[in-house]
């Protein structure tokens, strides 16, 4: 279980998170939605300890990841997988070597076992026979799938998805969401997805939290969020701009 308590973070005087509170239950798919620049990716990086909060706690099964460093932090991180927005594949390595990288560095598997595991994972994400290609030679969707294979190959207990469908066409968006659900069922991981993919996320997430103005406005089931009476959430899930702000901006 992940618990985020009173998380505050600012960058160069600009307050991004102003006391975020929520929890993610083991085995569920939790989505964080919100507009661009609301601090969703910043929040996600705190869950893995990639960023340290100004104040607040991120408890992973009772252990505060923000207070850990060195081997203790790495030990806790071993339970996580992180799918970066752009995939973050190592561009000097082929897709095969990218997926093999954590296995070679963190396990004592033989060369043959590594090859079998990597080919198995690449096949599961629909990239059979593409292992020899470099990230620059494949499409954005294929990069994301290869990055997902790199995450899955280590069998993480918790997977963090940073806008996994941004920049993809609608068919690929659907395929990535199906891939997440398939992965969750196949491997039983807990998932935290940061996205602004509305309405698709309603069919993927078990619970959703809306991040706005540096706080979690509301946390609930997809139905509760869709029927929320909070004006900001109401507008966001229906894709309606803030007319007052727009007309104010237009003068």
């Amino acid at each position: 279980m992940i618990q985020v308590l009173g998380l505050h973070k600012s960058f160069e005087g600009q307050q991004v998170l102003r006391g975020v509170d929520f929890s993610v239950n083991t085995g569920e798919v939790f989505a964080v939605i919100g507009g661009s620049g609301q601090g969703k990716s910043v929040l996600l990086k705190h869950l893995l300890g990639l960023l340290k909060p100004d104040s607040g706690q991120v408890l992973v099964d009772g252990e505060d990841i923000s207070q850990l460093a060195g081997p203790a932090l790495y030990r806790l991180r071993d339970r996580f997988g992180y799918l970066f927005q752009g995939g973050a594949l190592f561009d000097s390595l082929t897709l095969f070597d990218n997926v093999a990288f954590p296995l070679r560095e963190k396990t004592k598997l033989s060369r043959r076992d590594v090859r079998d595991r990597v080919e198995e994972e690449l096949a599961k994400v629909g990239l059979s026979g593409m292992g020899h290609k470099y990230p620059a030679e494949v499409s954005g969707g294929m990069k994301k799938r290869a990055a997902f294979a790199r995450v899955l190959v280590m069998r993480p207990q918790i997977v963090l998805f940073d806008e996994p469908t941004t920049g993809l066409d609608p068919v690929l968006v659907d395929s990535v969401h199906k891939l997440i659900l398939w992965g969750k069922n196949a491997y039983g991981f807990t998932a935290v997805i940061v996205t602004h993919e509305i309405p698709e996320i309603f069919s993927v997430a078990d619970r959703i939290g809306m991040l706005s103005g540096g706080v979690m406005l509301e946390v609930g089931t997809p139905d509760e969020i869709q029927n929320s009476k909070i004006p900001e959430i109401y507008r966001f899930v229906r894709g309606i701009s803030d007319t007052a702000a727009v007309s104010g901006g237009l003068g």
């Binding site: 990086k45 893995l48 790495y74 996580f80 970066f84 752009g86 973050a88 594949l89 190592f90 280590m154």
Partner: protein, 256 residues
């Protein structure tokens, strides 16, 4: 007036913060250097990149530096009727000073800037975060191999620079200006002592560490996309070059 002091204060605080972060980065690098396993393959690859690929540039600049020294020093020595000392003058200038410094400046321009750009691009495309997310230290993979490669490569490159430079001086002094070959070489043998060579090598080791420290640090903390990479690369070359000269002065004042 108050605003003026506020700005000065902010500038000093920012500078101190940056210095602190640089030394923490250096500390982390030293720490990870001694934590096994060593990425030996990456060290060898980086020796190829920092060392072997810089060798042609070092040979070229070393030859011309030696030739210029040959001309200039010969001109100066004729004023005192001391042309016979051309060999040791060229050799000592190269071994103690110009070899380590110029070789380091050349490698800064060629390899240091590339290191900053490579790590900087990895930073802005989240590849550095990807390493962290896999519980793998970026220092172990991106910084330590470069440090070890530089500690091997810089003294070797400076030595190549020295040898080629001495040949360049020979070409000008003996072949062009008519000094005897025996005079040129015996002078070197008589005046250059082991201490001169070791002092030069110590300088090279220090410069290698400085170049990798600054280049990797600038890349590691790159922000703001392509423009940030460009800025980090420029800062890296300027800062490395300046630090090489400043540190050279301190080393000279200790060694001489």
């Amino acid at each position: 007036m108050f605003l003026f002091f506020q700005k000065i204060g902010a500038l000093v605080l920012g500078w101190l913060r940056e210095m602190g972060r640089m030394f923490v980065f250096l500390g982390e690098t030293v720490y990870w250097t001694f934590i096994p396993p060593l990425k030996f393959g990456r060290v060898i690859r980086q020796i190829g990149f920092i060392g072997a690929k810089s060798a042609p540039l070092i040979v070229l600049t070393g030859a011309f530096t030696g030739m210029i020294l040959g001309l200039q020093v010969y001109y100066t020595l004729t004023k005192f009727g001391a042309e016979a000392y051309l060999g040791p003058a060229v050799a000592l200038s190269l071994i103690r000073e110009l070899g380590p410094v110029l070789a380091a400046l050349m490698v800064t321009g060629r390899a240091g800037s590339a290191l900053t750009a490579e790590i900087g691009i990895m930073r802005i495309t989240e590849q550095v975060d990807a390493l962290e997310s896999m519980s793998l230290s970026p220092y172990r993979y991106l910084v330590v191999p470069n440090l070890l490669a530089a500690l091997v490569s810089f003294p070797l490159l400076a030595s190549i620079f020295n040898v080629v430079g001495i040949w360049g001086g020979y070409l000008i002094g003996v072949k062009l200006l008519g000094l005897s070959s025996g005079t040129y070489y015996s002078g070197i043998e008589g005046f250059v002592v082991l201490r001169d060579v070791t002092d030069g090598l110590i300088k090279s080791l220090c410069f290698g560490a400085i170049v990798v420290w600054v280049s990797c640090y600038q890349g590691y903390y790159t922000r703001h996309g392509a423009e940030g990479v460009s800025r980090a690369t420029t800062t890296s070359v300027v800062m490395s070059s300046t630090l090489i000269l400043v540190w050279d002065y301190f080393l000279n004042s200790v060694m001489l």
